[in-house]
Structures are given as C-alpha cells and as structure tokens.
Symmetry: C2
Subunit: 338 residues, 2 copies
DNA sequence: GCCTGGCACTCCGACACCGTGAGTGCCAGC
DNA sequence: GCTGGCACTCACGGTGTCGGAGTGCCAGGC
C-alpha cells in the first residue's frame, strides 16, 4: 500500500499533467503543490510510483506522466466528483428548457454536454425495452396495407408498414386497435409479448393472418429498437488533443462512426452508477488512448438510456464526471415532465 | 481566351495535383502527360496560367498548384462527370436494398456515399415542405391533452403534444380527425394551410379553441420541419487531408456540427442540377479550403431533399460528381418504391 | 530510518548551418 | 513560337551544437 504522501504526489502529478499536457518533474511539483518535502524526496516517491506502474516517463530524463493504472487509482481513490457551479447549473436548465420533441431533447443534451466538458458527447436515445407503451395506433392506408405506429412514454414514435396477407375491414382494424390498446397501453415493453399472444383467436378466421402479422411486426419493433440509436457531438473538440494527433484522432473518429462500438461503450455503464473506462480498459482498440465517462439516465428512478463523453485519458476527471452526472439528472427531469 | 494547349496544361496540373498532393512542376508534367512540347514551353504556359490566376506557387521555385479559380475552370470546362463502373453500381444497389425505414435509408446512404467518395457525406432527410400528407392521426392521451401524429408519403412521422384550452370529447376528436384527413390527405404540405383555415367554424363553440390549437400545431410542424434534419458520416476521412491539417480539420468539424451551415451549403444546390462550390465560393469561413458537391434527390421527378459530400478542394471532381449523382438517383428510386 | 542538498549524467528540443535537388525565369537560337 | 541552356532560388533533410529540465545516486543531518 502506498503511503499517504505518495498518493498525494500521484494526485499532484495527475492534476498538473492534465493542466499542462506536459510531463511533470519533481521540482515543478514541489513548487506548485506545497507538499512539504523537497524535490529529492519527491523523486524517490516517483521512483516507487513508477516501479508500481502508476506513472511512466516518455524517455529518460523527462518528467513523469500518469499511466492508465495511475488514472484509475486517481479516479477511484483520490478524486471526488466536482459539483458544478451554480451558474453552470442554471445554464444547463436554461439550455434544456424549451425542447420541443425527443430529437430536440437529445440534440440539446449532446450540445450541452460537449460544451460543458469540451469533449465528444454521446447520448443514447431513451430505450424502448424499458419504456412503457403509451399508445398503439393502426391505420389502413390501402385495403391490404396497414401502418402501425407505436408511441412510448418517452415521447418516441416508431412506425412500421404491414403488408397484410388478406384485405381487412375498417371495423376489424378499429377492433384490433382498441383491443391492442386496452391490453398494452401503460405496460412496459418487456411485458408486452405474453399480453397479446392470444389476440388472433378472437378474430374471424379471414382476419387472423393479418392480426398475427401486425402482432409480429409490433414485437419485431421491440427487438429491433433494442439496437438503440444515438447522437454524438463535439467532435471538433478532438482537435484539442496533443499535437501528435493525426494518429490519435483518426481511429477515434472511426470508432465514433460505428454505432455498435459506441453502444457497447455506453452499455457497460451500469444503471445508476457512473462508469469510467480509462485507456486500455476500453475493449475497442482505436480508443486505447481515450477515456469514456458514462452514466445512465431516465425519467423515473430507473435508467432508460445512457449518456457520456469520450475524451483523452488525460482529462479532468472530477469536472467531467460532475458535468456528466448533472446533465444526466436534468435530462431525466425534463423527460419526466414531458 | 486560353489556347487549347494551355487548358490541357491546366487539366494536367489539376489531375496530377489531385493524385500526388504535391505541387507539380513543368518537367514532371511533360513526363507524365505526352503534351508534345518541352518543359520550357510548359513553363511559359504556366506563367500565363498563373498570370490569369488559375494556378499559383506556394513559394518561389516550387511547382504550381491550382487555385480555386483553376478548379472552377476545370470543373466547368475540362472535366466531365465520371460514370461509375458497373461493379460500383451494383454495390450501390446492394447497399441500399433492404433498408427498413427512413432512418435506415438515410443512414445507409450516408455510409455509402462516404465510402464511395472517401470523403465526408451529408444527406438531408426528405423535406416535408414538398412532400405530401399521407395521414394525420389525433389521439387523446388525457381529457385535455392530445397527440398529433403526421405521416408523410416519404414515410416520415412527426408527433407533437397539444395541450388543449378545454377538455374535448372523444366524438369531437374523431370528427376532427376525419375532417382533417379528408381535407389534407394526399395534399402537398405547402398547400395545406388554406385547406384547413375554416375548420374551427364547423365545431361547437367550446371545442373551437382546441381545434384552432391543433391546427396551429399542425402548421407549426410544417414550418419547424422546414429546418430540416440531416445526417453526416465519414468524418474520419478528414484525416486523409494534408499533413498540415490540425488547422484545417478543426473548422471543418465545427462547421459540420452546425446544421444551419450545412443546410445552407446543400440548400444552394438547385433542384436537379449538381452544384459544386469550390473553396472560397463557400460562404462559411471554416470551409474555405473545402469543396462541396451537392445534388437534389427525390422520389418523383422533383427533388425533395439534397445530398452531397464535403472534401478538400483538392479532390477528384469527376469521380466525386459521378458518385454523388449515382447515389442520388438510386436513393430516389428506393424512396419511390417504398 | 527517512529526508535533504549536491553532483554528475542523460537526453530532448531549439537553433543554426549546409548541401542537394527540383523548379523557376530568362535568353538566345532555330 | 518552340526549345535547350543557364543561373538563380528556396524548401527540405541531415548534422552539429548548446542549454535546460530532469533524473539517479550518494553522503550527511535530523
């Protein structure tokens, strides 16, 4: 176990490095951080920290920079979550108020988060799986063509075409619409399948095929939408990275275009707690020199989706975590109200 | 007017520079392009071309590179649109077939275009203004709360909440729904306003406020959606730019995040013809060293939205234009079918 | 036993210098 | 009007030097 002072040295190194983006040496450290000991002592501590793998030197006779392991220790033990200033809080509220629909909420959130953290923001659309059904609408567009519209409590709307095996009458459509709604309205998506299973039986033989098909489409929408959509923003912030970065930025941009990768990243965030994945902790190779800070958000107690930011491992963790948490909370509120 | 050979020299310069990304000199030109004249002659021609502002030298004793004006001449007079190879055509079709909904079509298009051109692709969602209404749905969620759902012929669905000034009965809602649909279904969006103007008059006094509000919301949706949504992709391709590019890439990424800017860029494309905006021809400052190739696409004869790519001025214009045109055509087909 | 000041050493980064080669403009001749 | 020749220019890459920041180690002191 590292002594108190050595931890303090690590903290100082992380803070300075995050601020200056340059390897930090023993002398500079003692000057900027009243540690109460001399540079020589700090050097000894640094040697130990390096031995243990918390810091490294880019080359001999350079200062030290934190390793992924060092950042990990910093995040876990040394740094709290920095609460936002009240002007910042007010800014968040002002920014989110007045959103007109779900796209707008998500769009504003992305911009807000990117702006606050000066990093790349990723926001997942509220998931259908955990949402509840507000309404199911069924429209006949042609004798043998229906449109199924699904409205969720998070304000999301999904539509699907249904090509019927046989023409179906208006009354049967109205009937199906009414029955569907009485059974599934207000239910969670996950609970829907068993509730509608026996519906075809109560219809005339000629319509049964169509009803089954509508149900199949409905359930399919559920499943398909589990591969969530998401929105990203603030990619221009990537250019604030090191000056070395053509090599750095490329794979990150590529990763950001792969929804699957991003969803996986966010997906690892457990419901309520904030997740921080540092450098190589990210499975995806292109993100080896970036960290991901993610957290779930939702309209109720339960998280319905995730949001987070992607930035260099050399980031201001307390500040970023504070911003991410705050934004998640406010978005939750907004969603609950609408 | 420039002589035939001088134009030929300009063409050769553009082609070589696009290929090599390096200033091209007189000797290299004669070697690679059987112009039938000696380097010295080419030098004279180059001097003239430079005089006229079609090419420039980054510094004395370097080769020449085309100016924006040079590219403009190249695009207008010297280069055609390069048709795609048939494998490419087949690839496009395969790529677009099987899209499940509008989001999917747009998403696939963006990826396809980015891949074909190896540049940043921008695709605008089909516009509502020129689309027609397929169906309007009205649901009462609470006694004084309605949801308005609008379905267009391009498969787009928009929903809005309506908070009513007074509770409204189910029959009145059904009535309104029916009347709305009989009046506007199949109509173009632009034609809707006069068609619904007098609707409130035919309702009881107590419901009139609500009806007006629903109509207002409907019309508002029209207007709001005129600020279109769009999707971009292939930003990772920006890293293929010059090596100088931290300065180059930053403003471009920033511009790409501003929907307004992008919409303006695409907006300049007239309906059917392809637009090429080169370098400083783009109003936005950050895009001064990029070119935009855009074209309208649509399900019928008329364009309902635009798509295009953003790349360095030093791009393969014939190839890019070919790809953009081809993709626009195929997307149009896909939309017409669905 | 741990902290400290001192000292010799290392190595990056900036700067200057220089030779090379590609490219140019100009000119005289065909 | 095209061509070959010639002198000139200038970016680029390699080398050399130098200063400074930083290190490791050691002997001495609290």
């Amino acid at each position: 176990m590292l002594s108190e002072r050595r931890l303090e040295v690590l903290r100082a190194i992380v803070q300075d490095y995050v601020g200056t983006e340059e390897p930090v040496g023993s002398k500079a450290l003692t000057e900027r951080h009243r540690l109460g000991v001399s540079p020589a002592t700090v050097r000894n501590d640094m040697a130990v920290l390096e031995e243990e793998g918390y810091i490294a030197q880019p080359h001999t006779s350079a200062g030290r920079i934190p390793t992924d392991k060092g950042y990990r220790l910093f995040v876990d033990k040394l740094a709290g979550v920095k609460p936002l200033s009240s002007p910042e809080r007010r800014a968040i509220q002002n920014f989110l108020v007045g959103a007109v629909d779900l796209d707008d909420v998500v769009g504003r959130t992305v911009r807000l988060l990117a702006q606050l953290t000066r990093q790349v923001a990723v926001v997942q659309y509220p998931s259908l799986t955990r949402s509840t059904v507000r309404h199911v609408e069924l429209l006949s567009l042609a004798p043998a063509r229906l449109m199924l519209v699904l409205i969720t409590d998070t304000g999301r709307v999904e539509q699907r075409m249904v090509d019927c095996p046989a023409p179906i009458g208006e009354t049967a459509v109205a009937d199906l619409r009414a029955r569907l709604n009485s059974r599934v309205a207000g239910r969670r998506f996950a609970d829907v399948p068993p509730l509608v299973q026996d519906l075809p039986d109560s219809f005339d033989a000629e319509d049964r095929g169509t009803v089954s098909m509508v149900l199949a489409t409905l359930l399919e929408t559920l499943v398909e939408e589990t591969e969530e959509r998401l929105m990203i923003g603030g990619t221009a912030n990537l250019t604030r990275f090191g000056h070395d970065f053509p090599l750095t930025i490329r794979p990150v941009l590529e990763a950001l275009e792969e929804q699957v990768v991003l969803l996986k990243l966010l997906g690892e965030a457990t419901d309520s707690a904030m997740t921080v994945r540092i450098g190589h902790e990210n499975a995806h190779e292109g993100l080896n020199s970036t960290s991901v800070v993610a957290v779930g958000y939702g309209s109720g107690e339960e998280a319905v989706a995730k949001l987070g930011v992607v930035g260099p491992t050399r980031m201001d963790y307390p500040g970023t975590m504070g911003a991410v948490r705050a934004v998640a909370r406010y978005v939750g509120q907004i969603l609950a109200e609408s």
